[in-house]
Amino acid sequence: MKNAEEIFEILKQQFGDAIIGIDKDTPTEPIISVDPLQIHKVGAYLRETDGLKFDSLMCLSGVDDANGTKVKDAEGYEFIQSGTLSVYYHLHSVELKHKITLKVSAQREDAKVESVENVWKTADWHEREAYDLVGIVFLNHPDLRRILMPYDWADGSHPLRKDYKNPEFYQGMKVPY
């Protein structure tokens, strides 16, 4: 059983720059930041290494940080420019009974994160959900389709973005009240 700081030190030693930092000032558990394009090998290492053995991905969440600047378009509609979208990974080791939280942040306009689908199978549908609702693209995902919204929902329309704008119509049905 290891605490977050010990795990951070192990990862930092193993991966160097791919591990960006550790945030200890959170109301819950500390969060380790990782490079979005290297999360796959970090995940595989966390899962396989003796003394870590994170065999369970409890949850994978997509988050719109909404930390960019608000800009108004020609029609007066306010949207968010730049800033980041994040993915949080809550890991648990059933064997060693310890937990850790990882976070990756990608640029809002081109949010690409490596898939961890072949490390933890759970990630398959979780990543599809994060893609569907927040619009994060997971590289190397075997089947990155929408999972909740209809397949023919407008491209680039992701409902849980903070600046999401609902369409007037979907297949001839009026959407707003």
Binding site: L148, M149, Y177
Partner: protein, 163 residues
Amino acid sequence: MGLLDKEFSDGNILIANVEDLLNWARLSSVWQLGFGLACCAIEMMATSMSHYDFDRFGVIPRNTPRQADAIIISGTVTLKMATRIKRLYEQMPDPKYIISMGSCSNCGGPYWEHGYHVLKGIDRVIPVDVYVPGCPPRPEALLEGLMKLQDKIRNESLRTKSA
């Protein structure tokens, strides 16, 4: 005036109005499509169970739209589901009836403002005969809705097209 106009004492002959007879037959065996959507479906199932006994009004769940007379929209209709409901409705033979059960299918319910995925009322897709309010409505309310539908069927005419 009852269903039967006259009864002859000496034979198996009854005289009745064709409209009344057809309407009586239809309202006495409203077979509903076995179709549940959300929490309202739990109340709908409770209505079918022995305590409230939907069957005493002739309502039996039928597992194919092609042999169903009515569909009870029992719950939140997402945009994705709305396209499927429309298809089910189109597969039902005439005459067909629709009971919209609960706030969600009446008008979007609690999802009316922020439900980006919810259809704000099933009447935007298919024509509704009876609206049953409630969230979810109690079985008594659904029974009341059914009786309202029966009243509607009772007063139908063959000469004018309804619904």
